[in-house]
Symmetry: D2
Subunit: 459 residues, 4 copies
């Protein structure tokens, strides 16, 4: 592996697939801006005062067209930005090209190897000798993980002289992480601790990353404040649900062109992602079956007319399997099947053929994020909700960087900001809100201008 | 008003419309039992140990067939029960008759006046000279209110000799409450305080009552522990949503026989009740418009293809108006319209005719709970979820009556009990849950047997 | 059986359940008029010219509120009318009362015996010594059948002196028909032939009746012209589909209050009625399974995500069975089951309990039309489409009574009249049609003013 | 234009974009075969007897993966085949490559000019000096048109010596047709008449082509028998409806990635295509508005909750416009707008930007078939229904080529063949049909084995 950082004529670093796709990326970014009213409102509201002036932001989040609009919102508010993707298949190369050329340092391409992926993550965090980023936008927690592991290794090394040992783990990916840290340690044994010192905080996008953060908080290991963006209502109940309702059939159709109507589709997991996937498949005419471990989610599925069964019950009759659980070992054993052959039809679309029957199973995106691997992920409008939460979280962290408001804990955004994110998206869809009269507001004991619901409200 | 308590041959008190409907009520109770697996499971699981032996339970909750199954679950577990309805129109007289004859003291009939309503509430709480109930099942908080107001008045009277003065309020209903307390005070100036002393706690069914409880907790006025059943997931996300999806069109059709397809229907409020109503109307072929004050709920409506407008925008083209807000002044001014005539087509179905056009507007259930006033309310299965929460809450309060576990605060049931309620309803619908392997459970950091979600999870 | 015809103060004959319900019936008729724009438009357009002046119309069609508006449209256009129901359970007694008191001779009540049913049919056709009706509105073909059988018997009697013999058939209902004809023959051996002479034609409402008419046409037995109203698009594709989508859940809920969500429902037959029923059940959250004999309809069901199986496959897991086929022997054997007990919960709602398990099956409307037996049938708006076809068919037959345009055959209404029926219902729902430009009309080769589709078009 | 026919190593002619895509095409053809059970059943049932032995078939129909399976079904039954696409944008180049290499003479690529398009059509019909095809598979009627125009021109030329004059028409495309015929006439003045002599008949796929055929039949101009495949129930009610329900959102998403939820979408026309498009958009969360000229289709839209308005009413608030009418001048004036700029984002996706506002409108597939231009058209399963009708129609024409059964008229397939097509698709979806008993069949007067419905039945 000899990955070389390139530089734009202006001297900004990047590593992307093909910079010549920048014009195409720019055209699509312009289309997306029309669909991202929350981000564009942030530019209009905050742009003039340049609140991020002086701030360095590193982001590890799918490098798509929508993320491009997020990045250029951060830069429009004054930030300097470096970016990598948080998934080896999710980069849209024309988006990466446009941002690399025009706005920020980007290290991302579709189809990275795991080694390349972590190289990109390291580049994204590396702001040179003067330390790391002030703020991190994270998705899945890999940037946060790298810093925490780096600090741990540095401290161990300082104490015991012991270098991290990739051979100490079976996990192939974690071996790479340890290798990177080890190699870095030899060059600069204080790098990650300088990063930690400088870091104001992280805002985390998704369930997996949030779970890691709460675990670190519980164990006292969390090194800097974190805002849990995932659990904003306008994030978790929007892009998980409505985003997947859109992007699951999109990915299925682009990858396989299969007719969904008439098929038996099994959706493993009936959380927000599962609800969105199941709704989309049902509406397209599939007969949908759900598997669940949680009796409440199972009962919700039943109330929508979806039978809840186990994989064993349905494996012989089902045509389509969708896993939405975030857990491991949901569908197993394909690679290990004796004599099975893998035929790549197109990128992210492989047919595994069994020797006995010559019948095959199509696996999308190698079992990872198929909506990003096989299509273009969630559509711009719903990502505008999620990313406006990100911008607001980053603004909040930066504004309070010296006030001590945020400790080394995990926070959610207050409800009035959640409601604000929603409000910024209503005009584009032609909606008009009703206003409470003061006497109505008193009757239900809420302020006229909100927030309107108690924290326990589930929407 | 000369309301007289009657007695069964066994000496139990009651006041119902027509005891001869008891056989019909019994037939429908038997049908409902088949649809209420959660309650029947409670009988099977707890019946043998008679956990409520010695407990007196007063309930103020719509006296319907489903409630009858709840009451007989409480008595099957050993309790002695007195009951009234929490709404003047919601009693099903055959249900009241069957319970009065067979199981508990009932004071309820369909079409009570407000004065009769509060007389029934007082009867329900009155267990004779030895004090009041041990436990209260409340819906909307009227039984709780009466005790709190009673205690307040008794203390004031003891201190100052002042009797409550109905003329001190404009609210017609509250005048009745004050009148009842005043009349009681003259007879027994310690009645409500004795009740308070005896009371172990209340479990509250619905949003309005829960809101009152949290306000009393905040102001320090709450006199006994309370369990907020409403915010169990298996309550608020089930009977509000799926119950109304069923019972809203049911009430509309029974009252008016109007074809929903093709009509323009306005749903005021897009909380769980509004979501259920809107879904039902949309699926029946109406064009549904939503009004909302909360931008998050508004954006949810938009994501389902429902325009969000104000009443003013749509009043001229809409055919059907549904208010789900729990607020006041949503639709106004009908009674005050000069020359308007009210024609009663059948009970709970009035046509108000304007003098100029001779055109009319049909008002259902006098603008109150139309699913209970015009149809039979939520169906048994979904009420089994809600009421199983009630049974579990009552059991919990009673079991912990001497341990000090519950202070004078508002509690929600722990998630594993919420999940248990759901689990009790899966078998009836033929569902099979998937079981986590230990290694999967560890991977997502939950116990194999649950609970499976963090408290913040919104379902 | 001693059924006596009664007379109004004005001397018009009738036999209904309770004339005192006329006021209630009138209130509901007035509500229905608002929902039946097609019929009200006919009154406005044709009323002034009294096209039915001098015409006698006999109708055999469910005596409901909607039919009342049809009858009063016929009388508003100048006709004299006699009416009976075409089903023993379908009469709404308040509708019958209002019409009997105000508008036409009615012989119908809810819960007729079969003998009473045919007595009513005979009364409806009997216009006294001067012969029968000029026109018949038929539903299911019973009025038409009675005349055809009567004529056949009279001819046989004249030729051979042989009277019809009820003992010649096993069919209990047909025995009654033969008995009535035999008794009539003894009194007046030319009655049905005089009817036939006078009769201008019949318009038939439904599939069963239409099938009989085409069979009579094929065998040369048809005695007068017939218009097949059933196969107007605005009839078969509207009241079968959208009517049942409304009235099937309505009947289910009124009769049983069962929660549809989560249940397994089997719909036998996926024609228009089955499509409407399946759509309603699916939307209410049931898991719907279809049984079909026709592969095309079966494939349509599959495309909507509905599995197609046989009754044997699903009988053990299904909760709800709906038969929509018009065929016999779909679900069998209940009455004959040894030891089975029938418990009537309320009219049209019987629980059959098996001796072994004490578990029961609820049978609605004795397996007949449950939407009319357990609820109020199709809603007014969709019946306005069907009945406007009836009015137009009757007008056409009457206008052409002397021109020879209609032979003793079965006709459907021309497409421009079908389109007119639809057009009359658009304004009420706020719809605006687009108009073809002459050049567009030429481009697709249709007249600017329609009709717009070839006869083979399936909608 | 210098288009050169190429030849495979086996000597078969072709002209495609890139023969090296044949392997990729073959992989996708193999996937499609799994989804096209009707065609695969035809191969199994008829392949052994080689019914098309000696038959030459020319096809003018979108050269897609699905069509590839059709072509290879025809060759598997013994036919020799030449093929072109019936639309300049609809060819899938990898499908064309695979067929050209392996199975038939193909002249088609994505993005033909109109002149190239007609050159391909001519090549497809040209079987060399010995005349033309025995059978034609047509879609839209262009192959049929070319022969009819060719014969007309030859006859005129023989009579008057006059050559066709492209300048005689304003229609740019028809100028090309006349030019081709003129050029051909100079070389061989009997070519099209020889074709006509040889031709056994045509089977036509779609509405437009069928309309032309009926017009030719009416005017006596039809030169050979035609089977109207479009009006098989398993064609028009399946690929128009279910195909578009799948492929409309597919095309929208691939071309624009726009979030459909929350948008206002106008569907012009509510025939089967419009019904499918509207259903898909509604289910994806759009607010759908319909425009219609036909009151019956308009009323159907209203019954599904879709408002029916005119374009003028909605143009200012709508986000998405879909035209499904087959008519002209539905949406007009874009190209002529002063100063408007066209920016091509990617093939088939153009943004037209207005000079005043810098706002733009995205036009897909130049206003033509966007599901084929922007995505991959209807999915395989539904096309299997349509194409099985084609195979059966071709078999029927060929089998009866000498019997005189088919005159120079337009025929539809008999219902039992329509039902057979459906039946061939049930097994793949796990469906089981119910069988009529003889007594049931008699009761409803149909044969036990079908057909089950009268011709007038609309499904």
């Amino acid at each position: 592996m000899a990955l070389l950082v390139e530089k734009t004529s202006a001297g900004r670093e990047y590593k992307v697939k093909d910079l010549s796709q920048a014009d195409f990326g720019r055209l699509e970014i312009e289309l997306a801006e029309v669909e991202m009213p929350g981000l564009m409102s942030c530019r209009a509201e905050f742009g003039p005062s340049q609140p991020f002036a002086g701030a360095r932001i590193s982001g590890s989040l799918h490098m798509t067209i929508q993320t491009a609009v997020l990045i250029e919102t951060l830069t429009a508010l004054g930030a300097e930005v470096r970016w990598c993707s948080c998934n080896i298949f999710s980069t849209q190369d024309h988006a990466a090209a446009a941002i690399a050329r025009d706005s920020a340092a980007v290290f991302a391409w579709k189809g990275e190897t795991l080694a390349e992926y972590w190289w990109c993550t390291e580049r994204c965090l590396d702001w040179g000798p003067s330390g790391g980023p002030d703020l991190i936008v994270d998705d899945g927690g890999d940037a946060t993980l790298l810093i925490h592991e780096g600090v741990k290794a540095e401290e161990e090394f300082e104490k015991t002289g012991k270098l991290p040992d990739p051979a100490s783990t079976d996990n192939a990916e974690f071996q790479i992480v340890l290798g990177i840290i080890r190699d870095g340690l030899k060059v600069d044994p204080k790098k990650y601790r300088r990063m930690k010192e400088r870091l104001v905080g992280v805002s985390e996008e998704t369930t997996t990353g949030v779970k890691r953060l709460y675990q670190m908080q519980a164990s006292g290991a969390l090194l800097f404040p974190a805002i849990n963006v995932n659990d904003s209502v306008t994030k978790s109940k929007f892009d998980n649900l409505y985003g997947c309702r859109h992007s699951l059939p999109d990915g299925l159709m682009r990858a396989t062109d299969i007719m969904i109507a008439g098929k038996v589709a099994v959706v493993c997991g009936y959380g927000d992602v599962g609800k969105g996937c199941a709704a989309a498949l049902k509406q397209a005419g599939a007969r949908v079956i759900v598997t669940e471990i949680d009796p409440i989610c199972a009962l919700q599925a039943l109330m929508e007319g979806l039978p809840v069964l186990t994989l064993e019950d349905v494996v012989s009759e089902a045509d389509i399997f969708v896993t939405t659980t975030g857990n491991k070992d949901i569908i197993m054993g394909l690679e290990a099947y004796p004599g099975v052959k893998r035929i790549t039809i197109k990128p992210q679309t492989d047919r595994w053929v069994f020797p006995e029957t010559n019948a095959g199973i199509i696996v999308l995106a190698e079992g990872r994020l198929m909506n990003l691997g096989c299509a273009t992920g969630h559509p711009s409008f719903v990502m505008s909700c999620s990313f406006t939460n990100q911008v607001i979280a980053q603004l909040e962290l930066w504004k309070e960087r010296s006030t001590g408001k945020y400790e080394k804990k995990v926070y959610v955004l207050p409800k009035h900001l959640d409601e604000k994110v929603a409000a910024l998206h209503l005009g584009k869809l032609g909606a008009k809100l009703t206003k409470l009269t003061p006497s109505q507001a008193e009757y239900i004991s809420v302020p006229v201008e909100g927030p309107y619901k108690p924290a326990r409200y589930r929407y």
